[in-house]
């Protein structure tokens, strides 16, 4: 079932976030994530199999909500061998446990290092924000957006959010850096940020560039059919040509010996 909205997104206004963690609480309740457990597998950023989102502190001390960006061209979706990570028509990136084999390629590939794993389970799931897709289908806001007391999170059509972001940048140019994070990186993300401070630290290891990640692989992968054909053709050809030559060679040798016998 698809939504009435075309392409959904969330705009995070970092200047408004007070770091109260209400959004995280709401997410925990909505997705039934349970008590936080500290495990050796957990990363320091606060995301884990039991937390889809976390408020992280930027190097300069601003509070930034970190969660899946719902990339327009998601690396996680492109690497998943079985399509367990998939994108809905509205741009929400979802996960289907029934298909997943647990290869964890999605975790390796995500340029923001978002997906987390249930290391403590013997039938583990990959865990990440689902943009509350079920709530969206019921016409509700994502839980975190609804919970935010400061309206630091804004939900809507991605295009409209972009307009709103630009409007804010224009109206208070002193408050923000003149970029909408998520507009272009990796071909764009559905979760956008405007911020007084650089958000490059959200990348797994440095800021992701503008090139959509799936292209990196597709450049090679799209060539494999031709490589296969070429290799198959070459091998068949070589087998045939060399074989024929050798036969001819043998025949000539045989003829030579027999003729020399006659002589």
């Amino acid at each position: 079932m698809s939504l009435a909205l075309k392409h959904v997104g969330v705009l995070v206004d970092v200047t408004r976030c007070i770091g109260c963690n209400q959004c995280i609480e709401a997410c925990v309740v909505e997705n039934d994530l349970g008590e936080l457990r500290h495990t050796p597998q957990q990363a320091p950023d606060g995301l884990s199999d039991r937390r889809f989102a976390a408020i992280v502190e930027s190097p300069q001390g601003a509070y930034v909500r970190k969660a899946c960006r719902h990339c327009l061209q998601p690396a996680c979706v492109s690497v998943c061998p079985v399509g367990a990570m998939y994108q809905t028509p509205e741009g929400v990136v979802l996960y289907d446990y029934a298909k997943c084999m647990g290869c964890r390629y999605c975790m390796m590939a995500c340029p923001y290092g978002i997906p987390r794993y249930e290391w403590g389970s013997t039938a583990p799931r990959v865990r990440k924000c689902n943009l509350c897709y079920e709530r969206l289908q019921n016409g509700q806001l994502p839980a975190c957006v609804e919970a935010c007391p400061e309206q630091a999170l804004l939900f809507g059509e991605r295009d409209e959010l972009l307009l709103e972001a630009r409007r804010r940048l224009e109206r208070s140019p002193n408050k923000y850096l003149p970029v909408v994070y998520g507009e272009q990186e990796l071909g764009g993300t559905s979760v956008l940020y405007i911020s007084p401070e650089p958000l490059d630290f959200l990348g797994f290891h440095g800021a992701p560039g503008d090139q959509p990640y799936p292209e990196l692989t597709w450049n090679w992968l799209s060539r494999t059919p031709s490589v296969a054909l070429a290799m198959g053709g070459l091998m068949t050809g070589l087998f045939w040509v060399i074989g024929r030559r050798m036969q001819a060679e043998e025949k000539r040798a045989a003829r030579n010996t027999s003729s020399s016998h006659e002589a």
Binding site: P81, Y117, Y213, G232, F239
Partner: protein, 606 residues
Amino acid sequence: MAAQYRNWIKDGLWALAIAGMAAAVLRFTFGLGASTGLNDTTPWGLWIAFKLCFVALSGGGFTLAAMVYVFHLESFRPILRRAILLALLGYGSFIVSLLFDLGLPWHIYMPIIHWQHHSVMFEIAWCVMLYFTVLTLEFAPVILEHDWFRHPIFQMIYRALHVAVIPLVITGIVLSTLHQSSLGALILIMPHRVHPLWYSPWIPVLFFISAIAAGLMALVLEGFLVERWLGSQVKLDLLERLGKVAAFALALYLALRLGDLWARGTLPAALDGSWQSLLFGAEVLIGGLLPLTLLTSRKIRQTREGLLTSALLIVAGVVSQRMSLSLFTMWRPAPYLPSLAEILIALGVPAAAALIYLFFVENLAVLDEKAPLKIAPARVQLPMTWPFPFAERNSLNGIIAHRSGLAVGIIAVMLAVLPIQTAASGALPLNLVQPARGWRILWIDGNRAKYQVEFAHAEHQERLAKEMGSSEEACQTCHHLNLPQDEATACWQCHRDYLQAVNIFDHTRHQQILGGNAACQECHTVEHTRRSAAACQECHETMSPKEGQAAFNPMAPAYLDAMHGLCQDCHAQQAAAQNRPELALCKTCHSLQENPSELQAAIRNE
């Protein structure tokens, strides 16, 4: 001629394989978290690195098949079967290790049903699956030659396989080309993880070519090993020619690798003196250029030592490339150390493959097309019959008995070394709280992180007393529960652990006060059952818990939660009441001071 066969190698392999199986039990009972060092920032570790190596070292299979069947180089036929067996076992190891690595191994068939052709891994899954089948079919005739398969049906299959061999071989070559290169393409999408000296848009081609070099050299090594341990003569001239082919592949690989780094301007990074650059240097010089130089000299190539050395170096070089890029030099924000179980599984799989290799070699015509190798009985009898003296050494019972003895020892050591808290999935080590210091100002660093929260204790006390009009009540706002004969018991005395809830019911103390065993029934009113304890109030009716706290709860929350719970609510209220939002910010308390000197001075001056 008596074969120089050493039983202890086999014993060692068995021990490794069984230890690996034990570790596998651990992995499947407790999950990946408890049995491996993998974590959220390093979801791929040792096993992936090993898998890349297995496949690289199996590159001899398709190369030799191409040489014999496509290029009609019949002289290589005597080692073809070994090449195929090696590849078969290499891919077998790959698949088996994959079963351990996958979080949901019973979903391994999913790529067959759900196609996702944008994924390199999808392509690899299909290619490996198909190629493994091809290898099995290529090797099947060797098995069908055994006496057991005299039945006409098997003969028919045997003949059919013989007819089908050329299409099979060519399919195998195509599949190998695809997945050998695609294994490299796996990392194309991870520029944020892979070190720039190893990352390359040409990585698929590099993987393919280096697999040819490494696969052939692995065959050379195998030739020498077989000669040393199984006493089957190698044909040195054949191996030498393999070396020649490998040298071509190696030269191409090095040229492409260095050329690409140079063209993209990354080569200077190889000289910056970091350990990665040294590793890179060693890999290229010792594992690449050196053996290449050795191999280009015909004289060196034709000696055993020369050939052996270059084979060792090339295999090491390619293995190093695979391991470096997938393990050593990957960027990770948190450290990753493979656990013992992880290492045992990683080693156990190839050990089992080696045993299968020996089994095939001993029972089938692998080394010599005419007859299976007859192996002389062991000359050295190790005194390992002790646990099961009744079992014949070479019977199946015997083998299992002896090797299990060894393995039990290894498992014992493993369990001893494996930290128990990781084995019991999710359990945490005890993390005792450091009491707050100071008096008027408390200096709080519960987890000994050297970052202090300064808490103006006196100020809070005074303000609350003023607001409530009674200092006793003021204290109770926070000191909600006191130990017997105490007032204002410090937080840490009950909330003893930083992260875990703790039981504050002191069973032993109750027992002592009430008079030992005889008194058990004072609480445990129903006979002998643990569940039967009377509720606290029945004895402590005079104790008045805080309002709203209906029953006495013997569990105290962890220090972290307790402190936050206590402070945050008030702060949030006050922030709203006084319209001072900064009061509710984390920064207000966590100003992240490391042993602030003025604070120390303030405390000392009191």
